[in-house]
């Protein structure tokens, strides 16, 4: 679906990516994690064709994204973090744009709008930020594109909406679609995102499925910090202890714990996952 090879990108003198390589496949919901400023949004924009790569290559569904060909755009939807809707009714917005997407499903849009409890007869400008975001997510999922990119989709959503978001994203996922979600709110999307990609300033620190992670790392809640463990984090009721999985038994991955572990043990984690 997405093949990135030796990607280099910079904003004037500020280098964001140098030599990033990764492959993203259909049938998965990728969680794109990383600290502020490491280039999560930039990566989504490069994949969407909003930014041009300086060197290296990025191919999406066999297209060069920056060419922005209609056939490519009709199979991709990018939801920005701070979506600003135009001064028009949501239903009209969806009707006028929907006919450009070959697999747009108007009934699905109505259903999702109802599920999100957003009135489609209202203008975007009369909706709250969270409601606007839900409306654009409903439209994005109704286009039935093969690739959906979401930048911080749960930002601005209230608690019930986050649960609805998890449900609709999970329903939208199929063997032919690839969803990439960039987020800081890992708890909002826990149990949904798999594989996990963690970026840092030097590129990809981790790109692994939950199954691979749980086979190689063990996450436990203990009363005391683990001696010799890779990472200990104080938590309610003790410590989250992350260590190498030597037993071979799979354990539940704590994504927040994983993220902190990876950031503090970059070389070790690379060694563990490259072997």
């Amino acid at each position: 679906m997405v093949t990135i090879d030796n990607l280099h990108f910079s904003y004037s003198r500020h280098t964001v990516f140098s030599g990033v390589t990764m492959k993203l496949e259909a049938g998965k919901i990728y969680g794109l994690l990383g600290q502020n400023g490491v280039g999560k949004t930039t990566l989504l924009k490069i994949i969407s064709g909003l930014l041009r790569v300086k060197s290296g290559s990025c191919r999406v569904m066999e297209h060069n994204p920056f060419s922005r060909e209609p056939g490519f755009l009709g199979e991709l939807f990018f939801i920005p973090e701070d979506f600003v809707g135009p001064d028009m009714e949501v239903n009209k917005f969806a009707r006028l744009r929907g006919e450009f997407y070959p697999n747009y499903d108007e009934n699905k849009f109505s259903r999702l709008m109802t599920e999100f409890e957003v009135n489609g007869n209202e203008k975007f400008t009369r909706l709250s930020f969270g409601q606007q975001k839900k409306a654009i997510i409903a439209f994005a999922l109704s286009t039935n594109t093969k690739l959906i990119l979401m930048d911080e989709p749960s930002n601005g959503l209230d608690i019930p909406s986050k649960a609805q978001l998890r449900r609709v994203i999970s329903q939208a996922s199929s063997d032919e679609t690839c969803i990439i979600i960039s987020t800081h709110q890992v708890r909002d999307l826990e149990n949904l995102i798999d594989p996990i990609i963690i970026l840092d300033k030097n590129g990809v620190l981790l790109n692994a499925t939950i199954e691979e992670i749980s086979k190689k790392l063990c996450f436990e809640l203990r009363a005391l910090p683990g001696e010799g463990a890779i990472y200990n984090e104080p938590a309610l009721g003790g410590y989250i202890v992350v260590d190498k999985n030597t037993s071979g038994e799979e354990c539940k991955v704590n994504i927040e714990g994983l993220f902190n572990t990876v950031l503090l043990n970059k070389k070790l984690i690379k060694d563990i996952f490259n072997n």
Binding site: K45, S48, L50, L51, R52, R68, E69, P70, G71, L73, G74, L76, F77, F78, P80, D82, F83, V84, P86, M88, K92, L96, R97, E99, F100, Y101
Partner: protein
Amino acid sequence: MKEFFDINRFFKLVRKDYSERLPVTLKIVTIFSLLLAGFWVSLIIFNGSQVDAEARVLYIYAATFLAMLMAPFNLYKSYNHPKKGLDYIMLPASVTEKFASMLLNSIILLPFATFLGVLIADTFISTVNPSLFNGFAIVNLGSAGEIAEKYGEAVIVQLGFIFGNFLFKKNKVFKTLMSAAGLYILFAMVIMFLLTTVFKSDFEALKSLNTSIKVNSLSDFEHITGAEGITSLLKGFYYSVLVIFYVICPVSFLGGTYYKMKTQQY
């Protein structure tokens, strides 16, 4: 080829663009029509004198020209906006279709709507109150050829403003006006330099001619080509100016706009 241009998709895009931009178009038409109506009301209140149809024709042309200059900044203001522009750029249509639709809306639909709207307002007022609005502007518009010539020159200027709209991201109107003024001054200085230095003898020869040259538009310079005492160099210069204004400028503005649309990063 379908990735470059598809006629069905283009019509869908035109319909979408027009439908979304109709409120703005109507607002502009209403403003210029109300200005005319306001002028008429002020004539009634302050006992103003009769206004001839010729003067109102000038207003109709001026309003249409202003609407043309305003069109890109009102209809396609957010195309290169880092957030608001994403909606349009990510729409599954080719750059060529978006470019053509933008030109259609800015160059034809909005000016035509403004021209028609103000003309209807004028006709209505002239019918209701012929003592103040004497005669009908509609019968004094000039020949089709004259209208086409004026429209063509207005389009060339408008293309510069369309390019400015895509070239600048912030303070578009101000920067475009400043750039246009800067280009105009530069152009005038070059012409003044050439006429007063390089073609000094030609200019002095013009003094002895028993001819008066009235210049309303650039094409009026054609009249000097028949004048005696004008060197072929000056005529060549005149044709160069024509080529710059009628060919190089519009082609550059169109090419620049298309290039900016195609390579805009967000």
